[in-house]
């Protein structure tokens, strides 16, 4: 059979020439820039009721998780503030002056800009209400089983790149903390609603 001999430089040429052609003429390099994240801020507001806002009165909600949920069901955990590196359970006094004035922030973090369909809150009610600094009233949950609940608030909102979206979650004290003979009952029905998104 006849054989064909190549010159000394032919091997490298045979390897690198196709590579050169492939890299320069086959790869596409489109222009692409990642958008800056937006900030979601979730504020908690207690709607005044039968218990006064008073430094001597307190009722705690322990919040363990806040998530924003995108329309494609992707979830983003919202930490306590933009400097946090993780979410830890925090207790918030719903009878504090900050809760009355809507300045109680329970979640504030960077999230990808997109349209979101809801956010969720995992929390646990406290086991007592303290009145006048010395009266400890037990709180009985309106459900059996684990003390924690996960509430999902379905209201679409948009996160824009570089902007802060503020969501105010209002807590209806009178609907939620109902006085019994020897304790308060903590109920979930009609206890929360989203009062503003800005």
């Amino acid at each position: 059979m006849k054989s064909i001999h190549l010159g000394a430089l032919s091997a490298p040429v045979l390897v690198f020439l196709p590579l050169f052609v492939l890299l320069n003429f086959s790869c596409d390099n489109p222009e692409y820039v990642s958008p800056d994240p937006g900030v979601i801020e979730i504020r908690f507001k207690t709607v005044p009721g039968h218990i006064e806002f008073n430094p001597l009165n307190s009722f705690l909600l322990k919040v363990s998780d806040v998530q924003a949920i995108r329309f494609d069901d992707a979830r983003v955990t919202v930490y306590e503030d933009v400097k946090a590196i993780g979410r830890t359970p925090n207790q918030y006094d719903v009878l504090s002056v900050r809760a009355r004035d809507s300045s109680l922030i329970i979640g504030q973090y960077f999230v990808p800009p997109a349209d979101y369909k809801s956010f969720s809150l995992s929390f646990e009610p406290g086991t007592e209400v303290i009145l006048d600094g010395y009266r400890h009233i037990p709180v009985v949950r309106g459900w059996s089983g684990t003390p924690g609940v996960r509430a999902v608030f379905e209201r679409p909102f948009e996160i824009r790149s570089g902007d802060t979206t503020r969501i105010t979650l209002s807590y209806l004290l009178d609907n939620s903390l109902v006085k019994g003979a020897e304790n308060y009952y903590f109920l979930l029905q009609n206890a929360f609603y989203i009062s503003s998104i800005r």
Binding site: L131, D132, Y134, R135, H136, I137, P138, K179, G180, A181, E182, N183
Partner: protein, 612 residues
């Protein structure tokens, strides 16, 4: 093209033509072989068993030589016996076909609604469930099945026989079932038939079994707890946080039945639905007339076979040798008495009852500092009138010959005030033991009257000295009504002594500071004996509990140095404003407070209990 190549080309072309021209033998259509069904644990054909009770567990298997079994359908027919002992050939009841699929969703059996013919729909549902992806059935559908809901699979209603809330399901797997056969006659003939269904929806011949089921006696019901026959229970129309209803407990015995349900009624009212609850709470709405005082409570039970007890408990009567000589029937009914308090009825005009529960000082030894009943009554009438209650209260003095007001009496009053302002040398409201006939301890029956009165909605005001000294006044009275517990006061007395004081030191309480709208006061010096040095003793500290709030703090004379300082500001007055009732407790005697201030305190207390 070379010769070699031509040869290769022609070879390939020829083979292709040959393949296309070939004919294949016709496929032979083979008839489906029907499945075979067998019942297990059945007796020989020449015997008919009679079961112990109408509940029977049966099991079966199915085989299909040319396919597989996708489910089973079954039913049974019930027959009566003729008087001559023969079996009436016409069944008096034929149950509709039930279909259970030969597939489990985790641990749930799957059944098809009986209105959907198995032959037409079983395979469709089975195929869907059998060809689910590895994740299985959608979680929400699985949960629904587990709850006992009916779901749609391929537009066919499907449910589970063993959801979470069924304690004794018919099926726990597709090849067995525990059935309860209707058995109204003494002996009932049942014929059970089951078919296996194969993958082409063919069922084949049924496997059948006949057996007898006996009629079983109903359970026997007994009332185990009820209001005391001579007692009167307060009743309201509806339950509240503190009034759950008049309780009755009952139990039934039936050795044949796994489950027993109960139904009850009062007077001529309707029977309640059957439930497994063994306690009933009766309210005024269950009566023919809420204001009527005498009622009859009845309860009946039903076993899982549907037999209802209407007789009650049957007890053997035995002689001295233990032989049964007869039977006694104890009907499951009870007569009881109730009071529908006037103060919770519409149109009631508020009125207060003042119970003078103080120590009785004889007229010959009475002084301003140690008043007699008449002096105490005169003082209270003046401040009650000035507080706006003139003509709206009644006064009663407790004495050895006067029993504590009962429920029928207090039910006419929206507020009861207990006055215990005067004590003996030991700080008690009475001489002798708490169980003595003249005891004024608010314990036992007296406490029961006060507690049930408050729990039905009555209000209470207490003015007392030595409240913590009255036996059994400290436990339930404090814990459940006053909402404060007696609090020993711990005093550090220099240089290095710590002492516990259950009550205040002698001659120490000068007055009190008020909170929550109550005015401060200093005891009236004209009423304090000179040797008391301006201060009262036999006063107890109180620790608020739950909704109890402080309304008075102790003010000391300072007569006892460090101990006086230690007692300063201790809580001695409590207000409880609950959703059903309110209690104001003045842990000091109002008698010694100057008139004007006493009127102000009383007015505030009456407002707090909503009497004014």
């Amino acid at each position: 093209m070379s010769i070699k190549n031509w040869v290769l080309y022609i070879l390939v072309l020829s083979m292709s033509v040959l393949a296309l021209m070939c004919t294949y033998p016709d496929t032979e259509v083979v008839d489906n072989t029907a499945p075979v069904t067998r019942l297990s644990n059945i007796p020989p054909t020449d015997r008919v068993i009679t079961s112990k009770n109408p509940r029977l567990a049966l099991s079966w298997v199915g085989d299909d030589p040319d396919g597989y079994i996708i489910g089973f359908k079954y039913r049974w027919s019930s027959y009566k016996r003729n008087p001559d002992g023969s079996v009436n050939p016409t069944p008096y009841q034929v149950r509709p076909w039930s279909t259970v699929l030969n597939i489990m969703m985790v641990d749930l059996t799957v059944m098809i609604d009986s209105t959907y013919a198995a032959e037409k729909y079983a395979y469709k549902v089975y195929h869907y469930l059998a060809t689910l992806p590895p994740e299985g059935l959608d979680a929400s559908l699985l949960q629904a099945l587990g709850r006992g809901d009916t779901i749609l699979i391929e537009d066919v209603p499907v449910f589970s026989s063993n959801p979470d809330n069924v304690e004794y399901p018919v099926h726990v797997n597709p090849t067995s079932g525990t059935f309860i056969f209707d058995s109204q006659e003494e002996v009932n003939v049942q014929v059970f038939e089951v078919h296996a269904i194969d993958n082409v929806s063919e069922t084949g011949r049924a496997a059948t079994v006949s057996f007898n089921t006996p009629q079983v006696p109903p359970p026997q019901t007994e009332i185990t707890s009820r209001p005391f026959p001579t007692d009167t229970a307060f009743v309201d129309l509806d339950q509240t946080d503190t009034f759950l209803g008049i309780p009755f407990s009952f139990i039934a015995r039936d050795p044949n039945s796994r489950t027993i349900e109960y139904s009850w009624k009062v007077d001529n009212g309707p029977w309640s639905p059957f439930t497994s609850n063994t306690t009933a709470y009766v309210t005024g709405r269950d009566f023919d007339d809420p204001a009527a005082t005498a009622h009859t409570f009845r309860v009946r039970s039903r076993n899982e076979f549907g037999s209802i007890d209407t007789v009650g408990l049957i007890r053997d009567i035995t002689n001295s040798s233990g032989e049964i000589i007869g039977y006694d029937t104890i009907p499951a009914r009870a007569t009881f008495y109730s009071t529908y308090p006037a103060f919770i009825q519409p149109g009631y005009q508020k009125r207060m009852l003042v119970i003078n529960n103080s120590y009785s000082v004889g007229a010959e030894t009475a002084t301003v500092s140690n008043p007699s009943y008449q002096m105490l009554e005169a003082y209270y009438r003046s401040i009650l009138d000035d507080a706006g209650l003139a003509g709206k209260y009644d006064w009663v003095n407790m004495d050895c010959d006067k029993p504590f007001p009962g429920k029928a009496v207090v039910s006419d009053y929206s507020t009861v005030m207990v006055v215990g302002d005067v004590v003996n040398a030991d700080g008690k409201w009475y001489d002798g033991s708490p169980s003595s006939f003249c005891s004024r301890s608010l314990s036992g029956r007296k406490y029961e009257v006060l507690q049930s009165y408050c729990y039905i909605g009555g209000n209470l005001i207490i003015s007392a000295r030595g409240l913590g000294l009255q036996p059994n006044s400290t436990a339930d009275l404090h814990d459940k009504l006053i909402h404060a517990n007696p609090q020993p006061v711990i005093c550090f007395i220099p240089p290095n002594t710590t002492r516990f004081f259950s009550s205040n030191p002698p001659k120490d309480m000068a007055g009190a500071d008020g909170e929550a709208g109550y005015p401060p006061f200093t005891f009236s010096s004209s009423k304090l004996a000179p040797e008391w040095n301006g201060g009262l003793d036999k006063i107890f500290g109180l620790l608020p509990k739950g909704f109890g709030e402080r309304i008075f703090r102790y003010a000391s004379t300072g007569n006892n140095g460090d101990t006086s300082a230690c007692w300063e500001n201790q809580i001695i007055g409590i207000r409880y404003q609950g959703i059903t009732y309110s209690v104001v407790t003045l842990g000091f005697p109002l008698y010694y407070v100057p008139n004007d201030t006493a009127v102000a305190i009383l007015t505030r207390a009456l407002q707090d209990v909503d009497e004014l």
